[in-house]
């Protein structure tokens, strides 16, 4: 890294620090601890982010395998590959995995990796909490899969409607496993959202006012707020469900005045924003990629920000359109339809702004950009069907059919997974220091794009022809066989494309072309760090003077000096204008978050088997947090200060 230090010291009377000296001391102070214990104690957002992304991707593969098994079973009518018991577990696992263990975590994971770099910071605001969130997520996912392989996988759908999921109709531990897994992943998602909000609010580089923030950071800010307000609903609902099952409460038991629809309201109040929690970060990916590959800033920055915020807002008003067939008041239908259709407007604004950006830019058709073009096509289709099912008379026909399956796979795969793959190709060089192969990337893209359409487009028609969701088999006379076979062939194509991706990654890690700091000539701050970034990200905290700092100062970023280098220290700035405000201590690596996560896991898992689990787990958790919070007293400067005061 080349550093330019002013010949005359900024502050008269203080000896100038040589850049090499600063870097040397930072390397010492921020070095990761060696060995397994060091690995388990890491609080670096980059190593945790990488673990998070890889774990989420493993769950993506597991969920994909489950999807493949389902497609194999449905490839022809009355297929005997797996029976209803296995099928019901598998479709539940697929949904639960993709929603709770892949889609939300992977978006958080990428955010936790990128956001501090993009805003010129050294780490997230609460690094230990970040580690804790990851471990809890890992344990939750691992718990679900261990139980699944023990034939105790949940089998009531990722939505676990009561009374089917209640104590009477689902005895045994299967649904308890689901409820606790959800609680685990809620904790990690909530922790990540607090983490990201405070990181974005308080640790931006000086000068990065909120309206100079990259659109991706905006998207993560909106997403984090949505998580903050949405996740408590499903966490409460799953807690209510667990209580109904474990201690005999009556939240959802109609016989004692409970209510089956209460579950649906609570679940969908979370469940609808959930879709946008997955989708909004993808909008951020798309904006980043579009700007870089058209070599101009995204057109209409304020409009883009406003539409993301509007999407976030509106997402909380639409949950009822998941309940159109439960017998909602007829008066309400047109209100709900209007509210549901309205959310198409901000989406439209964004698509038009991107098209305008591309039109007025000079596009380079690298793989990330291809994924963006594919995203627009697929997301449009998903959006159209979304508007259609906002209409109550039409929705009563296609609700709970394969039409809906098609719709939300277009929205989630087209709208979120395609941008995510684009993001993988785009930021892979930053994370690993090596480029992914373009030729394999094109194969990856086209196979995925074609496979996606072959799999899911026919499902629209299947739904209209009357095929309900979540059926493990169907009769030959229904005439659904041909389209199902086609869909299964498409699924194979998608699987091949994912294998191509894995090959590409494996190959690049070994023999990939070295990337350099800014291989794409991009505009945001993460490209000012080395690839891969050092543990402290930037030797000096950069100062931002525009929305495109790297285009404004391609050779030399303005920066501030003066953070301590003998201990880990970060700069805290003001919320709106990002003016330097204080210096904060960054925690040392520590094993306590892992211990606290283990205690959390003990609490939730034993609770399934005995109410005493609550007592045991709470005591363990308390001890873990005491260990976490207890000051280690390493910094004499700080201790001297308090002695001077008292």
């Amino acid at each position: 890294m080349s550093l330019t230090v002013p010949a005359v010291p900024h502050e008269p009377g203080r000896a100038p620090e040589s850049a090499a000296e600063v870097v040397g001391r930072l390397e010492d102070t921020w070095r990761a601890r060696p060995g397994l214990r060091g690995w388990l104690s890491s609080v670096d957002h980059k190593s945790i982010g990488k673990r998070y992304i890889i774990t989420a991707f493993v769950f993506f593969l597991l969920g994909g395998i489950e999807a493949a098994v389902m497609r194999a079973q449905l490839a022809r009518p009355e297929n005997g590959l797996i029976g209803p018991d296995a099928y019901n577990q598998i479709f539940t696992m697929h949904g639960t995995t993709m929603m709770f263990l892949f889609a939300v975590p992977v978006m958080d994971a990428v955010g936790l990796y990128l956001v501090p770099l993009m805003i010129g910071g050294r780490n997230v605001a609460f690094p230990r909490l970040n580690a804790y969130g990851y471990w809890v997520y890992l344990f939750g996912g691992a718990f679900l899969y261990v139980m699944f392989f023990l034939n105790t996988g949940p089998d009531t759908g990722w939505f676990s409607y009561v009374p089917l999921a209640g104590p009477e109709f689902s005895p045994g531990k299967r649904v308890d496993v689901w409820a606790q897994t959800v609680t685990f992943t809620e904790i990690s998602a909530l922790v990540a959202s607090v983490e990201l909000i405070v990181t974005i609010f308080k640790t931006r580089a000086p000068g990065m006012t909120l309206n100079r923030m990259p659109l991706y950071v905006w998207s993560m800010l909106v997403q984090s707020f949505m998580v903050l307000f949405a996740m408590p609903w499903v966490a409460s609902a799953s807690m209510f469900l667990a209580m109904d099952r474990l201690v005999g409460t009556h939240f959802f038991n109609p016989a004692e005045g409970g209510d089956a629809l209460l579950w649906q309201h609570l679940f969908w109040f979370f469940g609808h924003p959930e879709v946008y929690i997955i989708f909004v970060p993808a909008l951020g990916f798309v904006s980043s990629i579009v700007a870089t590959f058209t070599r101009r800033p995204v057109f209409g920055y304020p409009a883009m920000v406003l539409s993301m915020v509007a999407t976030g807002f509106l997402a909380f008003g639409l949950w009822v359109h998941h309940m159109f067939v439960t017998g909602i008041p007829q008066l309400g239908a047109s209100f709900f339809t209007a509210a549901s259709m309205m959310i198409a407007i901000p989406s439209g604004v964004q698509i038009f702004c991107w098209i305008a950006t591309i039109w007025s830019g000079r596009p380079r058709f690298a793989v990330p950009f291809l994924f963006v073009l594919g995203f627009v096509a697929l997301f449009l289709i998903g959006g159209f069907t979304g508007v259609m099912i906002a209409s109550v008379p039409f929705d009563t026909q296609v609700h709970d059919t394969f039409f809906i399956v098609a719709h939300f796979h277009y929205v989630l795969i087209g709208g979120a997974v395609f941008p995510l793959f684009g993001a993988f190709y785009y930021w892979f060089p930053k994370v690993t220091g090596r480029m992914l192969d373009e030729r394999l990337g094109r194969w990856n893209f086209w196979l995925f794009f074609i496979g996606m359409n072959v799999t899911f487009f026919p499902m629209h028609e299947l739904g209209l022809l009357g095929m309900p969701r979540r059926v493990y088999t169907y009769l030959p006379e229904t005439g659904w066989g041909g389209l199902n076979l086609l869909a299964s062939i498409g699924a194979v194509t998608i699987a091949v494309s994912v294998v191509v991706f894995l090959v590409n990654v494996a190959r690049s890690l070994r023999v990939g072309e070295a990337a350099g700091a800014n291989p794409w000539g991009a505009d945001t701050l993460e490209w000012a760090a080395t690839s891969p970034p050092r543990p402290y990200n930037f030797a000096f905290t950069p100062v931002v003077e525009s929305r495109e700092p790297m285009w404004q100062h391609p050779a030399e970023l303005p920066a501030v000096e003066g953070l301590r280098t003998d201990v880990r220290e970060v700069l805290v700035t003001t919320l709106l204008d990002a003016e330097p405000d204080s210096r904060h201590r960054h925690p040392e690596p520590t094993i306590w978050p892992l211990i606290a996560a283990i205690a959390t896991a003990v609490l939730f898992i034993t609770l399934i088997f005995t109410p005493w689990g609550a007592v045991i787990g709470t005591v363990l958790l308390f001890l873990a947090f005491v260990g976490w919070a207890w000051p280690r007293g390493k910094d004499h400067q700080e201790q001297l200060m308090i002695e001077a005061e008292s």
Partner: protein, 411 residues
Amino acid sequence: MIAHPGEPLGPHQLWGAWSWEPGIVLPLGLAAGLYAIGLRALWRAAGPGRGIRKRDAAAFALGWATLALALLSPLHRLGEVLFAAHMVQHELLMALAAPLLVLGRPLVPFVWAVPPGWRRTLGRWTGGDRFRGVWATLTHPVAAWSLHAAAIWIWHVPSLYEATLRSEAVHALQHASFLGTALLFWWSVLEGRRHGRLGWPGAVIALFTTAVHTSILGALLTFSTRPWYPAYGAVSAAWGLTPLEDQQLAGLIMWVPGGLAYLVAALALLASWLAEPEHTPRRLPLGAVSLVLVGTLALAGCGRSGALSFEEAARLTGGGNPARGRLAIRQYGCGACHTVSGVRGADGLVGPPLDGIGGRSYIAGVLTNTPQHMIRWIVDPHGVDSLTAMPATGVGEREARDIASYLYTRR
């Protein structure tokens, strides 16, 4: 307010059912009159569109009209027989009239509407610690939010709501608390952000959370399987609705259009904030860093485009020090009457707000806006305009220069 005289309203009587209650008409008329008189006085003194912008006045007029529509028109009588109509009335009060009235910044014209002598007394009184303490507490974002939420939820408790249908006084109290807490809420959201209490992110979150909790109350009403307020049941049939449908409609009105009002407000706030130009790269306000070094608070908004940088302001005023000026504004209590961003406690409404004063043509409606005039005006207001309400505060020439330089940095 006479809520329920005689027979329940039938559909055929609707258009004749205007309510001319003196208890409503008089305050409404008084508010309009005061605003008009004060606005005339203010604009005559400061120039049209100064102090209160034309769109502020338009917002007030619109808010006033909404208020009149809600309280005087047949809607009011209809609210006695249909819950849904009553809900429309409440939403008009809380989600439309209240924000518009706040945007109209009525306190400024109201103060200008009274004779100068009274104005001074009023200024002294409102400048007092006790009044300011109460006002600061009531308009504290958390307090205003909670009061408004409490008013909305508590009044929907069946026994209380039904009491409004029986007693005029309770009904008046309900409307007063809806409107009053709504005004506080919107003040903390729309005005509070100028005073550093609640930045726009806080305002957006306050609006979002209010949208959510009112939507949920609406949803509870919509999805209930029995009417909460049986008192409506007797007459709603005449209007073609069952009591339950009436309640569902009311819930939906609170939920969807009501919720959208908050959404629109939040987006508008955000849009106005984002619209601040970002064409020219702005330098990091290093002046702020040096101020932080001496331990003062960071200067919100310093260096925003449209205003002068500290260096430029210092040059323009011939050596004024904006940082010292900021302290002087606080010391001399300018904030008791004027609103100045970046100065804690400077949120008075007696005199015109001083932000953006660099962009105005006249000072005090008398002097052209030059730094020299500004300094002269600050040092000796009565020497410039013997009738002015602005007191001579004992500011010296050097401090006045500092104050002027600070004011020119305000957007």
